[in-house]
Amino acid sequence: MEERPSTFLRLAEPLRGFVQRFTYLGLILAAFGLMLVGKADTVLVDRTRTHVTDAVAPILDAMSKPVTTFTRAVDNVRDLADIRAENARLREENARLRDWQMAARKLDAENQAFQKLLNVVPDSAVSHHTARVIADSGSGFSHSIILNAGKGQGIRDGQAVLGNDGFVGRIAGAGSRASRVLLITDINSRIPVVIEETRVRAVMAGNNSGRPRLLHTLPSQRITPGQRVVTSGHGGAFPAGLPVGIVAAVTDGGIEVQPYMSRERLEFVRAADFGLGGILESNDRAGPASGGK
């Protein structure tokens, strides 16, 4: 009983090595093939990715909770240490914000009066869906996060995602119970933006680093560090005026934007449905190729 398998194995050993090497090369080719397919047919890949994300979402959801609790506990301890200084700072800020609130109320009333006078077409109503970030992945090769809400919770492809500090990205793959957000820093992200004070238009392109760049600006248009960058609403994908970031550096290499959102502080985000989506599907596919210049 013991003899037969061993003679068989002895005979099969060279064959096994051959098969193994063949499998290895075959798999390498398959991986190459997958990359080519991914480049050619993004729809198929995105759909598969959405399904895989959906399948793993419950695990990520469960595992991310203790991590959140732990980091929150650490934060609490750290906060306790400088609670007095923080209190003083907040009091000062509160006083400043009260002034702003008064100014804002006055401007809001004024604005509404003017809009009524001019018969302005109002922006469509916004509905928000809040979701928790259950995964944050990719460094040099992609920037995306996964939310614990999907189509079942009203999340749709193309919705704008907002964090506490500003514009975060857009929904790139909505599954049934989880969805993937393409961050504004991802290399595939192209956001039509405008410099808030000068109204200079540009396209903000991610490059997988922390600082996206502004494209399609003219040399004659003066852009200086410190200016606020907000969405322009062009193209109809996102509404105008969402805070995106601040111009951080203007060099020969390009104009860098420091986004308001900080990845490590994304815990809950809002997917906002502005009722605008529609052109995204076809437009974004061509994005990386056409916007590369």
């Binding site: 991914g38 040099g140 920037h143």
Partner: protein
Amino acid sequence: MRREFFLRLDRLARNLTPFGLTLALIILGMLPVRIPDYASVAPILAAISLYHWAVYRPHLLPFVAVFLLGVAQDMLSGAPVGLFALVFLTFYGAVVLQRRFLAGKSFPVYWLGFAIVWFLATLELWVLASAFHVTLLDMKAFLFQYLVTAGLFPFVAWIFLRWQQAFLQQA
């Protein structure tokens, strides 16, 4: 009869250990850790697991499994599909070729072996990702990610060596 069944179940569990642990590390690597700038340098823990099994138990982790793990990493991390499948396969293949040299060596040599081969794999990752996007990607992120992964190696590798001694003596 019953004993036979449990023995088989036990063997199955042992054989699935490397795959399961690597997959767990891939998922673990996705968790949102709220440390400033952590996300951009998050280590690729699965590489450490692949290295360990390539050196000590390559027959428990066939190439097909490595390929599947790579695809899982691609799918979850949002990287171009096939990128990590390719990098994991070449990395794993290279380590398997060198395993006779690496097995049983002192820990610093074992660590150095990982540092060298994973550095080459990181370069491959950068070249492939840049080629995929037809642009030169920022290399800093890749380098920092490499440093964090290599720096975390002793901790993860130690757990794996322990695990192996505890559960896979006879495998």
